[in-house]
Symmetry: C2
Subunit: 299 residues, 2 copies
């Protein structure tokens, strides 16, 4: 279905009240609403999420909000990259109808007293070094879902833990929203696309390649039959340690759905997730280990 | 506006999917939806909530669900009073369109991992002796709001802390729901209506009268000019102690909105909230102190 809302540049909306009024009119016309929540500085990975949302719905809303409550005081809120004009152009190219770009006072007129969290999925992986991060994510996504009331929301698998947490939250709280996860987009040289790549220097950009290189190497070993968790992690660790500006936060092998730790000898499916500081910039990446993808695997 | 849905007895709905389908059809017709969440064993206080919801909306949904996650293991989940046929009759008399009565497996198909809470408002008063209670309330009300997607939800002021917590949660999470609080309904002798009154014996029913009697006495002293918190609490405590089967949990004077503690010398507005065990049954009650209600007060 084509609607007027998705031709031409997106409309920039800064208040909850205006967005609700605009979307209410669409809803009354029977339009389905797609939603892509972002923190801006959009790249081709975000565009793929928007394209997927547009394919599934009539009206796509992209939020651009660098949410302060998911950053700890020692983290990179102040230097998180921002470029609204470029973001609006990216949204225009993806037939986005509305860009919701509230300021902090619009989203948090007073300090919020309410917290939404999924403790069991938020303790490991990034949650270990960012203990309040996923509560901030769940709370702001709950707010955005209640503001946009989308039929479909699309998230990237690059933030693998975030997607798992959101899926669990939506299931547990009965949000009437279909959650779609999209594969990680990578640069030609393998680097996972991330807004934070905008903070890399030529030197750290080059060293950051060890993340994807290590994951690909481990996946290849897995597909060749290696099932020993320690051996797979050692492949990654060796690769990461070859780059002097890279400091490892974690390398973890977890269940693809529950994010729980896996036995030392893996079965046929798992995820390896990693996080590193590359100079001052924290980057994450992950890869699915799936024996069904091995050459000659029975489909 | 009169709709078919509100004539005749309410339709009993036991699954989320069926309720969503029914309410989706109303929404497409432009009907506004009112919601009264309850744990059943309905009394005239509940009926007043339904009547208020009906006056404000086209289609009223009452949920009857004794939510296990808001009871601690030592509490009265097993003996909470239940009477579905009588409840359905009460709903029919109040033009309720749908009674949503899911079983526990429908609401919690797996143990929920997600928690919604308002810690700052949940620590005092009932939260002190029921530390996990309001997280259970906020989580199930979030679920119910996402299932029913009401325009208006009506709660009783008898559960004063619950109403304050829900208001804060709705504000913080941007739920698109108008929250309406309705005054406490009382029996002719002053006892606040409560489903738990169904568990009183003639003897404990008689002794339970000290709750409202103490609150009324304190309110009268306040309206006569008494502003000393300790003096007002002493009036209540003396009254409660006159009943040998009554064990005081708390008597607290708090800000009517923030639920924060008040200075020893009160200003012109506060709430006194109390909780007691009367035999094995835990009862709560509260009263608004408002100098504007004093005889001769400037309106």
């Amino acid at each position: 279905m084509t609607t007027d809302a998705s031709s031409g540049p997106p409309r920039l909306v800064r208040t909850i009240a205006e967005l609700r009024a605009l979307l209410g009119a669409h809803r009354r016309q029977g339009h389905r609403i797609g939603f892509v929540p972002t923190m801006g500085y959009l790249h081709a990975g975000h565009v793929a999420l928007m394209t997927e949302a547009r394919a599934r719905t009539d009206v796509v809303v992209v939020s651009i909000f660098v949410n302060p409550t998911q950053f700890a005081p020692n983290e990179d809120l102040a230097v998180y990259p921002r470029d609204l004009p470029r973001d609006l152009a990216a949204c225009a190219g993806a037939e986005v109808a509305y860009v919701f770009h509230p300021d902090v006072a619009e989203m948090y007129p007073s300090p919020g007293a309410t917290v939404v969290q999924v403790p069991s999925l938020s303790r490991g992986l990034c949650g270990r070094s960012r203990p309040s991060h996923f509560a901030g994510v769940c709370t702001v996504v709950s707010k955005l879902f209640n503001i946009v009331q989308p039929d479909v929301a699309v998230f990237g698998q690059k933030d693998y833990q975030q997607l798992a947490v959101i899926r669990q939250m939506v299931r547990d709280l009965d949000f009437p929203v279909e959650i779609v996860g999209e594969p990680t987009m990578r640069e030609a040289d393998g680097l996972a696309m991330s807004s934070r790549n905008g903070n890399l220097t030529p030197e750290t950009r080059q060293q950051a390649l060890v993340l994807s290189r290590g994951l690909f190497a481990a996946r290849d070993r897995f597909l060749a039959g290696e099932r020993d968790q320690a051996a797979l992690c050692a492949v990654i660790e060796d690769t990461l340690r070859s780059a002097p500006l890279v400091v490892i936060d974690y390398i973890e092998v977890v269940d693809a759905d529950s994010l729980e730790a896996m036995p030392e000898q893996l079965a046929d499916r798992a995820v390896i997730a990693i996080a590193c500081k590359v100079g001052p910039t924290r980057l994450i990446d992950n890869i699915l280990l799936d024996a069904a993808q091995a050459p000659g695997a029975t489909p």
